[in-house]
């Protein structure tokens, strides 16, 4: 279709056309994303090859000082007048070597087995007590092993930078150019290399408190670190994909629990997302309707409820809905017997969705208000002329428009609900418990199950495996977001 045809369409049809086009091109776009991911790996491989080529090539072309910096870091700077820089490199190399010899190498060598020496009890004749001889601690070996690997990788980067500096210095000297002094280098850190300065601390923080623990936990999923293999009393070791096999096939109790909880997670995410979305939008429409007064008052009333911290409001609601809670007292006045709001599986599932509406609608109201105002008025006018009523206008214009504009937000919400720990944990703690499930309850999501397995049961291996599965689910949906949001942007330019 040509642009001129598109422009000639009435606005409603133009809009329908855009949605249709967006959805139809979705498979192709997803394919494109996969291809892009593949291309990324190819690029990575090429990058490594180019790096190796540079490493070898530089050695061939390098003079004595450049070559010396292959074994003695900083030589290329130190012997060309950049004393401070050279010494810094040298110091780093020394520190690294000391670390590796005294600590790192041992940890790395223990990594394949995660330790072999079990803690022993020995009877001490003199003191008449049992004494413990400390064995290996698998947990610490794994943790320090991962840490050492990260340090080695960082060091490789520094090492390559050192060679590059040496070669650049050599070339500069060959052309008769002056080498940057230490003052210039420092000044550059606030100008040309500002990114290095600004990102140093954040990246260190993320490395220590996100990446290191994450790699550690991912690796735990391939070990047997559970309640009967707790260091320091006993060792744990690598078991390959056994935990995943347990979850999917081998262990009926675990796989039944996983399938049940997984289904409920998706059902919950679906209902929690769309109930909030649609009802929140209707609330926003009502408050923003022409002729409704005290708009600010209404908005504030609903904002107050989300401003109260969730652990207060949700814990409170869980007490309200308890067997002898205020809600049942109230129903008792009306002669209705105690309702098992949170103690019956089905009731509890419905209740968490309802309470989630209570928690979530104000958010949607806040967010959609602005977008609702932006819906082209002509859409509504042409609908009114065609004789559409309120319901029809909502289902045919408002909803499709909003769905189209806010798809990325919606999918983000969906992913957020898959991982919605607070609402479930504070309200029911995953209960009511059931014997059908392995350490889980009827309202447990994958994340709350993960939490319970970690904190209460110390089944770290199973919990980590679930964490990886959650990641895969989240990643799939997030991939969708990026495809759809890029689609919106493209369609927007078409307009």
């Amino acid at each position: 279709m040509d642009y001129i045809d598109y422009i000639a369409m009435p606005p409603v049809r133009r809009f329908g056309y855009r949605i249709d086009r967006g959805l139809r091109s979705l498979p192709r776009r997803l394919g494109g994303t996969l291809a892009k991911a593949g291309a990324g790996f190819v690029r990575l491989g090429r990058g490594i090859r180019a790096g190796v080529r540079e490493y070898v090539g530089t050695f061939r072309q390098g003079d004595a000082r450049t070559r010396l910096s292959y074994v003695l870091m900083g030589a290329g700077s130190l012997f060309r007048g950049q004393v401070v820089k050279g010494l810094l490199y040298l110091f780093l190399q020394a520190a690294f070597l000391v670390y590796m010899v005294t600590f790192g190498l041992t940890q790395l060598s223990l990594l394949p087995t995660l330790g072999t020496a079990v803690r022993k009890e020995v009877w001490n004749e003199e003191l008449q007590i049992f004494e413990y001889i400390q064995g290996d601690n698998s947990m610490l070996i794994l943790l320090f092993g991962v840490m050492t690997i990260l340090i080695v990788l960082a060091m490789i980067r520094v090492y390559l930078a050192n060679i590059r500096t040496a070669f650049r210095n050599q070339q500069a000297k060959a052309h008769g150019a002056a080498l940057p002094t230490i003052v210039q280098d420092v000044l550059n850190l606030f100008d040309k290399n500002l990114h290095a300065t600004f990102l140093f601390l954040p990246i260190m923080g993320i490395l220590t408190f996100t990446i290191l623990p994450l790699i550690f936990m991912i690796l735990i999923a391939f070990t047997n670190y559970d309640i009967s293999h707790q260091p320091p009393a006993s060792l744990f070791t690598w078991v390959g994909f056994e935990n995943f096999r347990d979850i999917f096939w081998d262990n009926p109790a675990k796989s039944r629990t996983f399938v049940g909880i997984f289904q409920w997670t998706l059902v919950w995410a679906f209902f929690a997302t769309f109930s909030n979305y649609i009802l929140g939008m209707i609330l926003a429409l009502m408050i923003n309707k022409k002729g409704i007064r005290f708009k600010k008052f209404w908005r504030t009333v609903f904002v107050v409820t989300i401003a109260v911290p969730q652990f207060v409001s949700l814990l409170l609601v869980s007490r309200l809905l308890a067997e002898q809670g205020a809600m049942n007292v109230l129903l008792g006045y009306l002669g209705i017997g105690p309702v098992p709001f949170l103690t019956n599986g089905l009731f509890a599932r419905v209740m968490v969705i309802l309470v989630n509406i209570w928690v979530g609608i104000p958010y949607t109201m806040l967010i959609t208000s602005g977008i609702l105002m932006n819906i082209p008025v002509e859409l509504y006018e042409s609908a009114r002329i065609d004789g559409a009523g309120v319901t029809k206008t909502f289902t045919r214009i408002t909803l499709p428009y909003m769905l189209f504009v806010t798809t990325p937000y919606l999918i983000t919400q969906f992913v957020g609900n898959i991982n919605n720990f607070n609402v479930i944990y504070l309200l029911t703690a995953g209960g009511p418990l059931t014997l059908d499930y392995y350490q889980g309850g009827r309202t447990d999501l994958l994340v709350t199950w993960l939490y319970k397995l970690t904190v209460n049961q110390q089944e770290y291996n199973l919990a980590s495996a679930i964490g990886i599965i959650i990641f895969l689910i989240t990643a799939t949906f997030s991939l969708l977001v990026f495809n759809l949001s890029s689609s919106t942007r493209k369609e927007e330019t078409f307009q």
Binding site: D191, F209, T210, L214, M286, A307, P309
Partner: protein, 283 residues
């Protein structure tokens, strides 16, 4: 014409009715919270709704009976952690998002992708490992550990602020460079003063995190009651052994911290909406 007027005023009345009922439903639990906080009879459950006697005792006991549950101390703990976290992570978030948004360097794309992937793992999956890392540093069960954990991952929260920095025109930087400014001064003296809404938003968000989190605190503090924060402390009051005695005090304590947070929230709702919709709709 008259018919339309009649119809619209009817529909407005219906809407007022619905809004009114909803407002009551939404405020009811909060009203209940306030009411219980003044109730004299102990216990989580009473066979009646309205308290028999009202009292200020729950508020007073919160500050006087501090042997087991030291509310004032928890409050100061939380305030301390919140202020430190706020200072550290605001700076980290702003620096990261500025760098990723406006500076061009080789590994920028790669870093953005890594940030994206890291955000997809469930946040507390790694908390046990975090605990042992802190223990290895000799910091477990301390407030410093808490500050480190809250602000350590701050660099990953760049998304919303980056969206904001993206919208500031590039010509400003270019003009400043012509005038001889370096990149560092551009950030502090030109871009930051222009970014007040996002700075305020970042400050408020990072300030509020320690007040509402109880998961990481419970992992890090274990049984060190003295270093609890408000959230975890209040959570402890509702365990099976404590709930009968402390339920009314829990409500009083909750009211006390809900007030400042609510005020902060109402102030920042504008920035919140701008931040979230800006990021979400633009994609």
């Amino acid at each position: 014409m008259k018919r339309i007027n009649w119809r619209s005023s009817l529909s407005n009345t219906v809407i007022y009715l619905i809004l009114g009922v909803m407002a009551i439903l939404w405020l009811l639990p909060i009203a209940w919270l306030v009411m219980i906080s003044f109730r004299a009879e102990p216990g989580a459950w009473t066979p009646y709704i309205l308290p028999k006697t009202l009292t200020l005792d729950n508020y007073i006991r919160l500050f006087s009976e501090t042997q087991l549950f030291n509310y004032p101390r928890w409050f100061l703990n939380t305030l301390f952690v919140a202020l430190m976290t706020c200072a550290i992570s605001t700076i980290l978030v702003l620096m990261t998002s500025y760098t990723l948004s406006r500076l061009r360097f080789r590994s920028r794309k790669g870093l953005l992708n890594v940030g994206l992937i890291l955000g997809m793992f469930p946040g507390f999956m790694a908390m046990i490992a975090v605990y042992y890392i802190l223990k290895a540093m000799g910091l477990s069960q301390t407030l410093i550990a808490l500050i480190l954990v809250y602000s350590g991952g701050a660099g990953l929260g760049y998304y919303i602020a980056k969206g904001f920095f993206d919208t500031i025109p590039r010509s400003l930087d270019e003009a400043a460079i012509v005038d001889g400014a370096n990149q560092n001064t551009i950030f502090w003296e030109i871009i930051l003063p222009l970014s007040k809404p996002i700075v305020i938003y970042t400050i408020l968000v990072s300030f509020m995190a320690p007040w509402v989190d109880f998961i990481f605190v419970s992992i890090i503090m274990k049984d060190n009651y003295n270093n609890y924060t408000i959230a975890l402390g209040l959570y402890q009051m509702l365990t099976r052994e404590n709930i009968y005695r402390y339920f009314t005090q829990f409500c009083a304590g909750a009211v006390l911290i809900a007030i400042p947070i609510t005020i902060l929230y109402i102030i920042m709702q504008k920035f919140y909406v701008e931040g979230v919709t800006g990021g979400a709709v633009k994609g």
